[in-house]
Symmetry: C2
């Protein structure tokens, strides 16, 4: 009965996530005057005639984005909200509403859903957003959570990925790589547990790494401080896929290059120690790990005096002409091209 | 490693879809002034200081909402947009943007995704909406499409489910039950095909029923005519779960009852004939079938002269006091309580 009989069959992975979206949406043009930004930024931006409505949407799929065996459902509900709020903040906007759609198999009970919603409720309360819609439906396998966050921003204050200028300073709001190492830790203990169920998991004293992975926060405080300090970043993105990938996005969309000082990339001691225990280079965890949900942004050097209130501000490099490329100045003194997905194992 | 050790385990089906959502969201209150309508209408409604932003979100899950074996992917992409636009129109609003998130297993190729996006593209073009965001991710099994539609409406013109008044006329915009019978037809041919793959499917002359199921339309024309005629429905909802269920929603949220004339419920001849071939009562297909994506709305009887332009308007009953209940006057002359999910097989 299938109508299709494709001769050609290209594996989805050949294009990569971003290449795939570019490919699929290349014929789409926007025609409504209210559409300010479409595919290609953290959020969609819509002019509502007063300010801008900012929309972000994200899907968490069991077995892909989370593993049920070590993910408390309350944390999962919390995180599903946070990852979307983080995108809204990355546009310098304030999230106000969320919708939540959940598909789940009959493995899950009402009590499981209550746990998920309890996490959603906590996140909504802490971040001051209202749950305004969504639904619950069945799935044949596993749990899928799709969240849409809606925010507002003054058109004068909206920040895109595309505004970075040569000479701007490249900044991050907190330490990187911890969420990735939290994940490695959970995966290791899962493997151990599956092979020897009697052994108690060894997760003592790893609260920081685990929390960065299981219950991340979004940097609302930073957006509030930008407003307080009247600091206007020239470009911004949230770090969900790893620092390197986000630097590439800003550079591509701003038509610039970047020069990053490895020694300036903030790492917590816990992250460095755990990376070494996993025989990983800590900086690679920061560059390519992802899920830190810190903000990466650029500011004009003239605005440096406005950063006083930002207690957690790390200047990790600067924006250079496009021709100069995207370079990493390593702690060892070498300069090489930044790799978006290059793993350096020992 | 699981932190949870639930003693109680309640099956999700015990509460029903709407009971479940009510249960899970009962502790959520809305706190932002911009939140006009939260959970419980077709859309979330947000005051943006100029007009209202209207948001609808829906998830289509393979094996639950569609069967890959008889669903052309292009139609699936089209339908995923339509079902959300229908919700926006049900608030008397005009959709302008959509976001699309897709999770899919490695069974699917780039060419499959191109088919889906081609249907999305067609729907966007026909209905004048812009694709503004979304992503593509992996799933362990099957295909999940989550769409969010965003529209705008003048606060004076927004229509909720809750505005029906005693004496109002209950109207639908087109024939019902056809989408459900299209589904029965496809399911029958699928079973035949699976047992005897050599037999060609017998779907000739059933274009209407199949198209109502596989490639529905949303009633933008009706919303346009409301504007042209300056007709303001008192309550409105789109028919996605079957007429009976939608009547219940309007009555519950408006605090009223309803009296429906079975003989006035519009049915196409194809629907009646096919229902009889399946030994189903045609009216039951209309009442409980779902997926027709027609609009159900109420108008003040004084506005009846404004309905001249609405060539496809069927007055199926009227709104009565809550104490009178929700009744169906059958063609056989009986009056009984309307059942939201009662199947009458022969």
């Amino acid at each position: 009965m299938k109508e299709q009989n494709n001769i050609k069959r290209t594996d989805v992975n050949t294009l990569g996530e971003f290449g795939l979206i570019d490919h699929l949406t290349k014929d789409f043009t926007t025609t409504n005057a209210s559409t300010i930004k479409g595919v290609g930024d953290d959020c969609a931006i819509i002019d509502n005639g007063n300010n801008y409505t900012v929309i972000s949407t994200d899907m968490l799929v069991e077995g892909i984005h989370f593993d049920r065996i070590y993910t408390p459902l309350k944390h999962l509900g919390y995180k599903s909200i946070i990852v979307n709020l983080s995108d809204i903040y990355a546009c310098n906007a304030v999230p106000q509403q969320v919708t939540v759609s959940i598909a789940l198999s009959n493995q899950y009970s009402v009590e499981d859903l209550e746990e998920i919603y309890s996490g959603i409720h906590t996140a909504c309360k802490i971040y001051g957003v209202d749950l305004v819609g969504g639904d619950t439906t069945s799935s044949n396998k596993g749990l899928i959570i799709s969240v849409t966050a809606i925010g507002q921003v003054d058109p004068q204050k909206v920040v895109y990925r595309s505004g970075a200028k040569v000479g701007d300073l490249l900044c991050v709001t907190g330490d990187l790589g911890a969420a990735y190492l939290g994940l490695q830790l959970l995966e290791r203990e899962k493997d151990l547990y599956l092979s020897q169920p009697d052994i108690k998991p060894d997760l003592e004293n790893q609260a920081y790494l685990l929390e960065r992975q299981l219950k991340p926060e979004a940097r609302r405080d930073v957006i509030d401080l930008f407003a307080k300090s009247e600091l206007h970043p020239t470009a911004m993105i949230d770090i969900s896929d790893g620092l390197a990938s986000e630097v590439f996005h800003i550079c591509k969309q701003s038509g610039v290059g970047a020069f990053i000082e490895e020694a300036k990339v903030p790492l917590r001691q816990e992250t460095e120690l755990m990376a070494l225990r996993f025989k990983l280079d800590p900086i690679t965890c920061a560059l390519n790990g992802g899920e830190d949900y810190e903000l990466l942004f650029t500011i004009s050097p003239e605005d440096l005096d406005k950063t006083t209130y930002l207690t957690q501000l790390f200047i990790i490099g600067e924006i250079v002409p496009k021709e100069d490329g995207i370079k990493l100045h390593t702690s060892g003194g070498n300069i090489h091209d930044l790799q978006a997905q290059g793993w350096r194992h020992f």
